[in-house]
Amino acid sequence: MAFRELVDQYKRMVFAVIARSAPDRSLVEDLAQDVFVRVHRGLRSFRGDARLSTWICRIAMNVCADARQRAPREVSLDAVPAGAPPPAAVVVDPAFAELELRDRVAKAMMRLPERSQLVLSMHYFAGRGYEEIAAALEVPLGTVKTHIHRAKQELREILEDSHGA
């Protein structure tokens, strides 16, 4: 397969994963390009142990993790100084709430084990079905379902911990 065909075939998947995991939405195109540059560089050493889609998805997640580490540290809006008066009730814009949720989920994903990150990203962000993930990871269908269920549970616990902290 020529490299151009490979880019055409997987670019939608890469954009979908990055759009949900990047620290900043304006970076999506640059990060997607970075993913394919790394894929091009690594193709010679790609041994085919993993399916190409799994390998590319993993690279996309690593690129997002690197970008998050490089991004300037943010001050949490949840943190309320001791002794401060309780905030008045505010109406939150649903679009803003969705963006905030996206950011919290992306940060929590980074704290998951690599395998859990991979199955969640492939299923929910890249839109891959159970059968496809099972074929890519070379595991039975039931194992994929268990992995996804467990990974979602871990993600929920991390989100609850971070919200309670």
């Binding site: 055409d8 670019k11 939608r12 394919f36 989920v105 929910y124 993600l155 609850e160």
Partner: protein, 101 residues
Amino acid sequence: MAPDDLDGYLERARTGSASTSVPAGFTDRVMRAVHAPARRPVAFDFMSSAVASGALVGTGGLLWLGSDNIIAAAVVMAVGLLWMWLDDPFSAEMTIRLTPW
């Protein structure tokens, strides 16, 4: 976070992934990026080499002025000058054009 929030978010992500749009010309942009020639880090090497050869010539000059051992001073200077010449034998970088065309 309510359990429904996460489930809802993940399901929205899954259904939205099918309609993810990719900017036009993205493939061409990637192809240009992977075929761009790598930059050669020449400036730093040239600088360190120039400093070292210049230091040799300077040391030779000081030896010449400050001691009787002219032969040793001449050898040190000659090595420095030879090194300088080897860095840029035909002065390609030093070509100065006085005319604008």
